[in-house]
């Protein structure tokens, strides 16, 4: 049996919009093995974002099981989910989502603050993470003093500091020009190669998808197609 990071079984998600019920996921099942690089693709309205939110423990499925890194997290409470996100998921957003008032270092330290890491260790690990993404000389810059590519690298450093079970990247290159987009993607793939980090990339960019090992296509709330591109 392979070592699974993500095991989703029969996930469904129903939103209530007024009196109408919207079925975003209809019994979706999928798995991601440790060390895999997977792309999740699908047109808008397919349930792709909903799946990503559930995989990232930002949201709970209405029914079905979700096992992340060996822990069943489908029906945990808000604070328990927060702890799981903090320890097991590294988020990389399309729009970077850095705190604008805080330096690169402060941003990278943030997840460790919520993990209760003491300030010296925090500082050391944040510096190391920023060095790893090639921003050693930008430690005390604020996001508005950094380029888009640099901001996304800060976000990658932030996603890595708590040593998560997987990185969940939502359109990581969507807000970047092609050159820095490529750099960021290479950096993510290098992380997978060098450290064996599990990588889940939500995207609709075929150029990004073709660099992954496997693509999961979502349509109408279920997996429509799974396999190499």
């Amino acid at each position: 049996m392979t070592d699974l990071v993500i095991e989703a079984r029969n996930l469904s998600k129903v939103y209530k919009m007024g009196s109408q019920e919207v079925h975003a996921l209809r019994g979706l099942s999928t798995t991601v093995a440790r060390g895999e690089v997977v792309a999740i693709m699908g047109p808008s309205g397919s349930g792709k974002s909903t799946l990503m939110n559930i995989i990232g423990c930002l949201d709970r499925p209405t029914s079905g099981d979700y096992i992340l890194d060996g822990e069943s997290v489908g029906q945990l409470g808000d604070d328990q989910l927060a702890t799981i996100r903090n320890r097991k998921v590294g988020f990389i957003f399309q729009s970077f989502n850095l705190l604008s008032r805080t330096t690169a270092l402060g941003n990278v330290e943030l997840p460790m603050r919520y993990a209760g890491v003491n300030s010296r260790t925090r500082r050391e690990r944040a510096v190391a993470a920023l060095e790893a993404v090639g921003l050693k000389d930008r430690l005390h810059h604020r996001p508005n003093e950094l380029s888009g590519g640099q901001q996304q690298r800060v976000a990658i450093a932030r996603a890595l500091v708590n040593d998560p079970a997987m990185l969940l990247a939502d359109e990581p290159t969507g807000n970047l020009d092609s050159k820095s987009g490529k750099e960021v993607l290479e950096m993510l793939l290098n992380l997978n190669r060098d450290r064996g980090t599990t990588l889940v990339i939500v995207t609709h960019d075929p150029k990004v998808a073709e660099r992954t090992q496997r693509v999961i296509r979502i349509q109408d709330g279920v997996v429509a197609e799974e396999g190499e591109l």
Binding site: D79, A82, N86, A115
Partner: protein, 408 residues
């Protein structure tokens, strides 16, 4: 996260929007300053009034004509009543008695004139009222016997008539046109909330009866001051005086035609009034503090809305509800605490200024800023910050990360 780190972070976040934070703090500053200033001035006024009542004399009883409204034809107080009260066998708890005639009159020296209170007294008055002369002498028995045209004046009168507060004995002044020789100058007692105790002209009671303040019958007096031997015997003395007057005036039981008030009665009345005043002023000020608190709530709500994405991100990165709650509560408490500290300083300055202005207008109010009111204001303003910060902070803490991250 430790407390200090959260405070530092709150300060950073507040300094990001300086004008808004400043205006919010201003609301608290005004509230706290108002509470401190009002209560301090109120207490200052209270102690001034208390002091001035105590400054009238010690262990005093004031006996007036007239009792309850049911009494018809109250008999006037007379010199004989005063003499009877002074009898140590009838009133063993009484150490001094001073019958008084009072009226206002025009006093002239050269081209200077002033309207002041003329008080006709016996020599005992100086003892009973704690008056001392800074120069010359007080009224004595021979002035009484001779119905002498002599006067002892207060420093305020001396200043008005002679333009100086010393070296006035031997001068002749005219009271209602009649010449009086100044034989003494009273030591200053300072102004009081009621009347200026230095704005006074004292003449022998016999002289007043005969020439200035004629009453009908001629032995009538306006007021009898009675001094008890000790503070503990004030009530006893009051009973003795009442018994003497009842038997002399042959009043019916329960229908006294005179009223006896002690200094304690005045003090109690005065402190009731000033307490109500202080509470009223403090209450009005507290309302402005409340308004300041609502200002905090308003700003925090705006801040939570503005930072929805930030909250979503923090939650995505693993912040618990309590982390977010503490973050926003710290911000609102820091706002109100800074406001509280500035408000205490400002309130103290206002109280100080009010004291100065009052002193310049001859009504000495020493605003007393006590530790308890400072503590109260600090605790109260922080509590206001916490209370009004609670709702916005709770709202922030309960945001769902998915929706918060999607918020534009």
């Amino acid at each position: 996260m430790n407390l200090w780190a959260s405070v530092v972070e709150a300060l950073e976040s507040l300094s990001h929007n300086k004008l808004r934070s400043g205006l919010t703090i201003l609301g608290i500053v005004i509230g706290v300053a108002a509470v401190i200033a009002m209560v301090s001035v109120g207490r200052g006024a209270q102690s001034t009034i208390t002091d001035s009542i105590q400054g009238i004399g010690t262990n005093l009883l004031f006996v007036f004509r007239g009792g309850s409204e049911d009494v018809r034809n109250p008999k006037p107080l007379t010199l004989e009543d005063a003499a009877a009260i002074a009898d140590p066998f009838q009133a063993p708890s009484v150490s001094g008695v001073a019958p008084v005639l009072q009226g206002s009159a025009r006093v002239v020296y050269g081209s200077e004139a002033t309207n002041t209170q003329i008080t006709g007294v016996t020599p005992d008055y100086a003892v009973v009222r704690n008056y001392n002369v800074s120069e010359g002498e007080f009224i004595n028995e021979s002035h009484m016997l001779g119905q002498a045209s002599v006067a002892v004046i207060g420093t305020e009168v001396a200043n008005n008539l002679f333009g100086r507060k010393e070296g006035v004995t031997g001068e002749t002044i005219r009271i209602e046109g009649q010449p009086f020789r100044v034989i003494g100058l009273l030591e200053s007692k300072g102004g009081s909330a009621f009347s200026n105790q230095d704005d006074i002209v004292i003449i022998p009671l016999a002289t007043a009866q005969e020439r200035l303040l004629r009453r009908n019958p001629s032995n009538r007096v306006d007021l009898i001051l009675v001094q008890a031997i000790t503070a503990g015997e004030v009530n006893q003395a009051s009973g003795e005086v009442a018994d003497i007057l009842r038997s002399r005036h042959r009043t019916e039981v329960g229908l006294d035609d005179f009223t006896i008030l002690s200094q304690q009665d005045f003090l109690a009345t005065a402190s009731t009034i000033t307490n109500v005043l202080t509470i009223f002023l403090g209450g009005v000020a507290a309302i402005s503090l409340l308004v300041g608190g609502i200002g905090i709530m308003n700003i925090m709500l705006v801040s939570v809305t503005e930072r929805t994405r930030e909250i979503g991100l923090r939650k995505a990165l693993g912040a618990h509800k309590s982390d977010i709650l503490i973050q926003f509560l710290t911000e609102s408490s820091v706002l109100s605490m800074i406001g509280g500290i500035i408000g205490i300083i400002l309130g103290w300055l206002i109280a100080f200024a009010v004291g100065k202005v009052a002193a310049a207008n001859n009504a000495a109010i020493n605003p007393s800023i006590s530790v308890d009111i400072v503590l109260l204001a600090t605790v109260f303003s922080t509590a206001v910050g916490l209370f009004f910060g609670l709702y916005p902070a709770n709202r922030a803490a309960n945001l769902q990360p998915v929706e918060a991250l999607r918020y534009e």
